[in-house]
């Protein structure tokens, strides 16, 4: 039984990572209709920045996480302005191609700069909490807490703040948003900044809990999209349930079957859900 709870907890931890990634993809797609394939690459690159800050400057991991978040936010805003905005009114295929190209460029630049070997971020303290025989490392707890805080914060921001309402307005009716005086370019930048900030946190934790390698950008974003579609495009609770479901399934799948199929489980469960509910678990758009 303990092994069951351990797997469940591990699943929730990895699910948190997917939630952080998928929420960014979700608001970016929900508001701007951009399939931001470079999102995982932003997470990866920011994770490397956190790695450098820790390994070269001996920084505390919290400082590294914050620097990673700031770095990702800036990169996200730059990508929006420089790469996506020029094609904002062009056919959707243009931003699709640009997104793919950005993913490849960032992953390749990372390989050139950081090499293709895996690295991980060393923490100075390694406390482990025991609940019976179920264990949770200090760092994993931090990921759970960070995810909880960012998700709750984003939810409150979107629901109650003036800017959050403006973001929802743009996602629901861009023209009406312009009519009431919303600067839609500014909203696009904010959305990219917010979404990328979450990716920055995710990237740093990937380095702290597991390992960083340039190709993880592509792997991560595919998982992120799987979560998004599983949960139902644009649904906040759907993204959270979807992330947890994929994280948990993956952990049980690996334990019960084989780790060589690790990346398969997410897509098997995705296909099963879509067969029965084509719009995803909470399908029905609307932030």
């Amino acid at each position: 039984m303990d092994i069951f709870f351990q797997l469940l907890l591990n699943g929730v931890v990895i699910g948190s990572y997917y939630i952080l990634i998928a929420l960014g993809l979700s608001i970016i797609f929900g508001v701007l209709d951009i399939p931001h394939f470079a999102h995982g690459s932003v997470a990866m690159f920011s994770g490397y920045i956190a790695y450098i800050v820790v390994s070269s400057y001996n920084a505390n991991i919290f400082v590294a996480i914050i620097i990673s978040i700031i770095f990702a936010t800036i990169i996200g805003v730059i990508l929006e302005i420089v790469a996506y905005r020029p094609v904002a009114n062009a056919p959707p295929i243009n931003s699709f191609i640009i997104a793919l190209a950005l993913m490849m460029v960032i992953d390749n630049v990372a390989t050139v700069i950081f090499g293709s070997n895996q690295v991980s971020i060393k923490s100075s303290s390694n406390q482990v909490f025991n609940f019976g025989s179920v264990t949770l490392s200090e760092q994993r707890l931090y990921l759970l807490l960070t995810t909880f805080i960012l998700v709750t914060g984003l939810y409150i921001f979107m629901k109650y703040s003036k800017t959050g309402k403006a973001i929802r307005a743009v996602s629901q009716n861009k023209e009406a948003a312009q009519i009431v005086g919303i600067n839609t370019n500014r909203i696009s930048s904010i959305v990219f900044g917010l979404g990328s900030a979450m990716a920055g946190a995710a990237g740093a934790f990937m380095g702290i809990l597991f390992a960083l390698y340039p190709a993880m950008g592509g792997h991560t974003v595919m998982k992120g999209f799987a979560v998004l579609i599983l949960g139902g495009l644009g649904s906040f609770p759907g993204t959270i349930i979807g992330g947890l479901l994929i994280g948990i399934t993956e952990n049980f799948g690996v334990a019960l079957l084989s780790s060589s199929y690790k990346d398969l489980f997410a897509f098997v469960i995705l296909i099963i859900v879509l067969v029965f509910k084509p719009s995803g678990l909470f399908g029905n758009r609307g932030l």
Binding site: K162, K165, Q172, N173, A176, Q178, I179, V180, N183
Partner: protein, 234 residues
């Protein structure tokens, strides 16, 4: 003069939808533009609001050429548009829609105005926490009008507010617009329903594909032979 449009042209992908139209909206008036489907009425409004970039001409509001300002500054200059087809934020509540109408305002009277609006539109007050997509078509039109009023405009532009409404609802919308005008707001009303629009008009223009073909007071146009034939089905 509230609004003065000079030689405004708008094109979509090189195809001209509006060819050099000029018209005036006098302060305090209800000015009406009637015209058949597809002659460019809504495009003119998109040009005025900065949603489409005009290919030529100027739009003077209280003497300033507003085309030089970014689109999102339009509503803070005192112009509000109640767009064709309502264009509500469908997943937002009625109240959130109204709050969005006041988005560009910086003053602290917004909550007070919201309560005023609810007094004026009791139906919306009852439904303030309901998502706007769950409302009937008539109620949605009221939300759209109320949302544009939340901007506290000096000039309110309405694009076919009678569209798709039951006759009893049309009467209500007409009297709401007349009330808004009596309280001092200048109105520019776009309509295909010439019969109701011309009765409200202080001054009116008839638009067809070649531009404005007729203008005059509401009474003059109601009596006009051509208007009666084409737009009033007489």
């Amino acid at each position: 003069m509230s609004l003065k449009v000079n030689n405004l042209s708008i094109a979509y992908k090189g195809i001209e939808a509006v060819r050099g139209v000029s018209f005036d909206v006098k302060e305090g008036d209800i000015t009406v533009i009637i015209g058949a489907n597809g002659v460019g009425k809504s495009s003119i409004l998109k040009g005025i609001m900065g949603i489409e970039k005009p290919t030529g001409g100027e739009v003077l509001y209280k003497g300033n050429n507003i085309l030089k300002q970014p689109a999102n500054k339009r509503s803070s200059t005192g112009i509000a548009l109640c767009p064709e087809g309502r264009q509500l934020f469908h997943k937002m509540t009625v109240q959130e829609n109204l709050e969005m109408g006041a988005y560009a305002r910086k003053d602290n009277q917004i909550n007070k105005d919201l309560e005023e609006i609810y007094k004026k539109f009791p139906r919306l007050s009852e439904r303030r926490n309901q998502k706007s997509e769950t409302l009937s078509g008539g109620e949605q039109e009221l939300v759209a009008i109320a949302r544009s009023l939340m901007a506290k405009p000096d000039l309110l532009i309405l694009d076919e507010p009678s569209w798709g409404l039951a006759p009893i609802m049309i009467d209500q919308v007409v009297s709401i617009i007349e009330d808004i005008n009596k309280e001092g707001t200048t109105i520019l009303l776009i309509e295909q329903n010439a019969n109701i629009a011309l009765k409200m008009a202080d001054y009116a223009y008839v638009l067809d594909v070649d531009g404005f073909v007729l203008e005059g007071t509401g009474e003059e146009l109601l009596k006009d032979k051509k208007v009666q034939e084409i737009y009033l089905g007489a």
